[in-house]
Symmetry: D3
Subunit: 318 residues, 6 copies
Amino acid sequence: MFYHVKELQFNARVSKPDPKFASLLLEQFGGANGELKAALQYFVQAFPAKMPYPDKYDMLMDIATEEFSHLEIVGATIQMLLGNINGELKNQAEESEIMQLLNGKEAKEEFIHKAMVNPQFFGLNGGGPALTDSQGNPWTAAYVTANGDLTVDLRSNMAAESRAKIVYEYLLQFTDDPYVKETLRFLMTREIAHFQMFEAALDTIQPNFPQGILQGDPRYSNTYFNMSSGADFRGPWNEGTSPGLGETWQYIDDPIRHVMESNGMQGHQPTGTPRTQDQVEKMNKDLGKMRSSQIRDAIPKGEVQWSNYSAREGKRNI
Amino acid sequence: MFYHVKELQFNARVSKPDPKFASLLLEQFGGANGELKAALQYFVQAFPAKMPYPDKYDMLMDIATEEFSHLEIVGATIQMLLGNINGELKNQAEESEIMQLLNGKEAKEEFIHKAMVNPQFFGLNGGGPALTDSQGNPWTAAYVTANGDLTVDLRSNMAAESRAKIVYEYLLQFTDDPYVKETLRFLMTREIAHFQMFEAALDTIQPNFPQGILQGDPRYSNTYFNMSSGADFRGPWNEGTSPGLGETWQYIDDPIRHVMESNGMQGHQPTGTPRTQDQVEKMNKDLGKMRSSQIRDAIPKGEVQWSNYSAREGKRNI
Amino acid sequence: MFYHVKELQFNARVSKPDPKFASLLLEQFGGANGELKAALQYFVQAFPAKMPYPDKYDMLMDIATEEFSHLEIVGATIQMLLGNINGELKNQAEESEIMQLLNGKEAKEEFIHKAMVNPQFFGLNGGGPALTDSQGNPWTAAYVTANGDLTVDLRSNMAAESRAKIVYEYLLQFTDDPYVKETLRFLMTREIAHFQMFEAALDTIQPNFPQGILQGDPRYSNTYFNMSSGADFRGPWNEGTSPGLGETWQYIDDPIRHVMESNGMQGHQPTGTPRTQDQVEKMNKDLGKMRSSQIRDAIPKGEVQWSNYSAREGKRNI
Amino acid sequence: MFYHVKELQFNARVSKPDPKFASLLLEQFGGANGELKAALQYFVQAFPAKMPYPDKYDMLMDIATEEFSHLEIVGATIQMLLGNINGELKNQAEESEIMQLLNGKEAKEEFIHKAMVNPQFFGLNGGGPALTDSQGNPWTAAYVTANGDLTVDLRSNMAAESRAKIVYEYLLQFTDDPYVKETLRFLMTREIAHFQMFEAALDTIQPNFPQGILQGDPRYSNTYFNMSSGADFRGPWNEGTSPGLGETWQYIDDPIRHVMESNGMQGHQPTGTPRTQDQVEKMNKDLGKMRSSQIRDAIPKGEVQWSNYSAREGKRNI
Amino acid sequence: MFYHVKELQFNARVSKPDPKFASLLLEQFGGANGELKAALQYFVQAFPAKMPYPDKYDMLMDIATEEFSHLEIVGATIQMLLGNINGELKNQAEESEIMQLLNGKEAKEEFIHKAMVNPQFFGLNGGGPALTDSQGNPWTAAYVTANGDLTVDLRSNMAAESRAKIVYEYLLQFTDDPYVKETLRFLMTREIAHFQMFEAALDTIQPNFPQGILQGDPRYSNTYFNMSSGADFRGPWNEGTSPGLGETWQYIDDPIRHVMESNGMQGHQPTGTPRTQDQVEKMNKDLGKMRSSQIRDAIPKGEVQWSNYSAREGKRNI
Amino acid sequence: MFYHVKELQFNARVSKPDPKFASLLLEQFGGANGELKAALQYFVQAFPAKMPYPDKYDMLMDIATEEFSHLEIVGATIQMLLGNINGELKNQAEESEIMQLLNGKEAKEEFIHKAMVNPQFFGLNGGGPALTDSQGNPWTAAYVTANGDLTVDLRSNMAAESRAKIVYEYLLQFTDDPYVKETLRFLMTREIAHFQMFEAALDTIQPNFPQGILQGDPRYSNTYFNMSSGADFRGPWNEGTSPGLGETWQYIDDPIRHVMESNGMQGHQPTGTPRTQDQVEKMNKDLGKMRSSQIRDAIPKGEVQWSNYSAREGKRNI
């Protein structure tokens, strides 16, 4: 169950209206790497985790809920940056006395000009935040990734936090409002904190590479295909030892020739790896057994109930 | 700020797994009229309402938060209906002893068959709920409407609750699980309750019709164009008195002739209405002044701060 | 069958080109609450209504067809506001004599500048209207709602008309062209008229609340959960009598405690309502029987034919 | 202005309900190459054509309006194929006497099964057609192409008709209902007719190749790059004379070498073409002048009015 | 298998940064008619063509690969036009010495202004090209058409090349950079070349009209419905002989009357055509047999292998 | 420049047609984590990397090109799994002799049934692969992330490879065809290899955490908000030392109270971290200077040329 407290998690303020920056800031409200994406991604991942891995479920829900709170901070900041647009849209007296005093024609044109640059706030939405990115694309769940495996999902989350971090970093270049900067720095820093939480959680799952259950085929896990010719470079990604499996990279300098000569890789032999097909098959079987039984054992047979209301023994810190 | 309590708002249970119904139920998780749409719609509408209309803001946030809690109930039910799919996907031992005992070939085919019918759970998502509708369309913010005017937004919400209600009604036809039915009835009933909350709130705003500020042109507000010929019907929507403005409906039986003869409605004269252009203009000006100043007055000049942390005088019911 | 008359339903004119406003006006051409959405929504809803409810079918098709006619008015206005952009794009003589006379460099830059602000007209579409909103989002049927029940669909339509009305109201702020204002006022007023038609039609269906067939569970239909703490407000939406069912609102001040103590609402008892579970069940059965038989009886068994061409007894007003 | 006549353009009938085929038929209702796409594509293209090219405008509006009429035929057929689903969804008496007589359990399961296969009709839409394709994707204006140039738009339309034709052809394989086949054959044949109309119209515009104004650079218009090696073929698309410009195809057998040696095509010389850069520049200037002035001359300076209501001299065939 | 050579197919250069034009140029990178759409469309069409029609497969893959190479040219040009935006975004020293020297405040504001006009480059993407069109819409496969029949696909491709051509033509109006113009002219000319390749290939398939297999019904293939009344025009599209089938156009001046009187076209008789239903049925059967057996015969029974690595007899031009 | 070799990188084969599995396999052709997404993501990221970081550019283009080659393998496998669907769709002889021999009615129904389960192959696409996922959603560039910073992009890529890997793992459960399994294992293993390449490349960039330039605020980088109460867990993600910055996690057990008491975190003091604001500011300035000048220095002033055709000194391995 969710609960809302009217006060923001961070004391967000603005110095003065700035609809232009409000428009850019939408990137973190309804954008591909914004707070809504983060909140919903962790929330959705939490469901299959709950029964087998209640500790990871706890963490995912803690962070998801914080991201919803960040979404609110971003929305509040946008609203404050919009100033009185919502009210101005209601002012339908074309020849109002105020407008006449304040050289109405120019005020009107300025208003029209602002609308051209930020149509989302003036046209459809009427002076409030919209669930779009800075270019008006509506938020889509295509941004969310949840694949039912924590060795994958936690990595997706580390990447998601990385992207959210850099977008805050870029946004900080486009405002001079010290209050807004303060808020953005808080939000940016939280992405750094969350990244480390996911990293630490991933580390408690062993083995966590390769992701999931199945081991890689020893013939293909350490080959590097030089598919883009000219200005070739060598580095730890194609020479020396591979970081995850500790195999020796095999550099295929002329991949077309190699594919032709190996009958489409059918004749390619494993080199530079101690792993064998037998080991792989055993590992697949053992790890599959272990993980699938962990999950199966955690799910009750027959009737299932999500919550146990009598379980909280008086301990209520809310 | 949002806060999460691990117990669900409603004690959701399932009798046994049913991935097929889980698939249909996605309609209320990531569908066009589902809980996420409701939650985010009210949440987004709340921002421009907060300062000028704190009572409506309170109501919008109360209901938005409840809808997030319903989203969680739906997700939990889907997860329980999926049973052990997540675990089965990890079981990679093809010739496992268990499978051999339990006529492996048939079990395998049954598993494959289930995947064809519910690809979302078996392929990409790995046995958890996805933010899609029952046909796999990712949720999009194009479902959300927020237009910066409560006389519009509250009506949008009444319609949204109507649609959510009927979808629960339809879904109830497709499960025989008494626990699931119990949960769906709770959720469906809450849509009925919310509908009435929005209706009551709309009624406290006067005038609330026409929506927004501008009055309709008396020439065009009570004409009915008979644009579809054959099997014509008359009813209170085209004869007698119009429900909102109390004008007399003017039925244009042959609209093409009428448009031609009135020079594209330029020569059309108002009939059946006591309203005049002067009254309309005065009303536009007065109402615009009233509403725009309500909003302008509620927004501080200069620095703005969203929350006042010292305002809660000890009163903390959470 | 549709038929087109080249003259517009309203004599749309513009004083001079204004590509900027054309860009905003796209909101009503291909936008979420624009004319295309309205036209297609009522058109799609009409199909299941035709046989059981021919009077509502007549109304839906009348209004749908008028909305197509409005779509044409909006498109024509956009086209006129674009002036000669289409022609300018064909003028490929870089060093044309005219350009040389008319300080070519500046003209060129002005042209380029206009294209930056309105890329839709200059790049892809080549100087005509596009089926997008003012920010370039292509129109999507995700905007359209049709749920197969008139107690729902008519409410969706009332909300849709509300949104279309307010968007015209906002747009009127951004043009000073008296001709364009005249057209927008006609279109805005028609939304007010349509709203009342749908309202009157809904009123002829009794009962129409709750929507569809199923009655709400008396335990949950009048509870208000105070899910957002701090700055709480009371109003007719959470105290007194609920507007639809006439029950007494039950305000749950501390929902977390209440959920915990009621075992996830399982122990929650109905209060403040005269309705009982037995009445609900009887009503569900009776209303379901009535409505489903209305529909079943209206649909012929075996072969079905949509139109009866001999039915029009000479009476042809087209 | 659009007008609707309740009778369909074609006397569509069905022999008996078939929700499965209804689901496939959605492809032509809300699919990428369906009737809505065709109708809106020609409708949108018509706006920039109206003033300079009223004859093409007439044709585009004739065909657009016919496609709207076809959309209605497809929708009506889908509705008839759905039979009484809409009514069944209202029948909420779980233990109805009828169900008990008619072995209720099996009927229920059959109903549930149908819903799994066609969720669009049972879940969200409630037994009517939806603006989606056969897989539930909502219709999007991304399907529509309108580029402001008839030498392009008419070719887009020929391709669109080709796709619509083949989809009807495929659909005909999936029904045995003679009435439905009759309707599909009518609709399919109309695509063939429309294709020829667009072809004939394109032929009246001279020159119409290359499309638009600018001529191709003689260095690059007749080269064929053999970018996919192995199993190479020669045919009239890379040897002999090119069909549009009548140049001699130049086959570049080893494009990588050619690009390297020609300094990225900078050193590539025109061969096999009589066209010169001078001719190209002259043609660009002349054709640009002609086409841009045609358009400019057709658009009134200053005030513009779309329709002239007094122009129809009594001649009214509607 | 694809292979990449770091050098571009065309020696693309820019004279100086121009982020505004970069923004428009996105139309050809991730836009509806851009290079990605072309590349993927031909690539996808190639799969079903490979076995039965290896010559068309060769052509489709040649052109698809060239389009990928063009996509790279467009991306490289955008990147060069963006100049050092990517680097500027990293420069986080607010009070840097350089900024102070170079009147920092103004530089900052200029930078902010540029970001407002091109949010895609400054916000999310960080100074590189994005797979969107010029308005920020993400590329979607809804742009791609592939229908499994070369008489359709090749026509789709001719239309696609037409659209790509005109978009390049429009874009050429918005840059004065001679290097960029040179590149755009190369790319535009290639669309002209590809159009002719597809046209020539279509011509080698006989018959290719109507598309696919099924012939049109002689009753409906030559009728023209005058669905849009007023300002009617006659031309080769509705009088004389139809270009594809050589039938005589039948002009139905009053389509409503005609439909009524013909009982929804049931009583409409074929006129102006020598084709008969018997001929049509025979042609359907014969052509269907021929084409389906061509395909069936080309696909091996049982095991299938895509490539034959020993088939290249030493002949390797790569 | 891209180049294509007709032979696949891997010798893909199938034992027999299996349209059902073809349908699931679309997930890796046009799905969110499929080969097209991978190919285009790395390709797009490569543009801003080219000048400042040619070694990373080389790696990104090598892997992007390999992913295009994998896309081709997946497409080829789908095509082979579809068998002769394309040909069957051409067979329009309803009463063919063959059908009559082979109990035509049943064959017909089987064919219709297959189409219902896989509408994508039978309806629109005509028996070839489509750029959609397994549920028919068209591929969208919303899947692609490219943020102009390698410390972010490489992490995005590691996550992308993780997701692709698990989807192949799931898919392997749904086929028994040994040839198909062989191909899927090759493709799955390549994701494992690519993951390690990106990991190794990330490691060569120092510092790479936090991502980008800006350091986190020491007040907020090590706090853990316990936002989801009940069943709380402690682990290395909220106690002990944070993995990236080596700070001591600060666990805020009652976040609502903490936020209230700290005036919305304004009064929150840094604890458990040696980092200071001064250090942060210095680091921001220094790192920003370093990275921005790396990029600025790599980009030529004035004219820019993407490729240098004379640079390859005869060394041509293609």
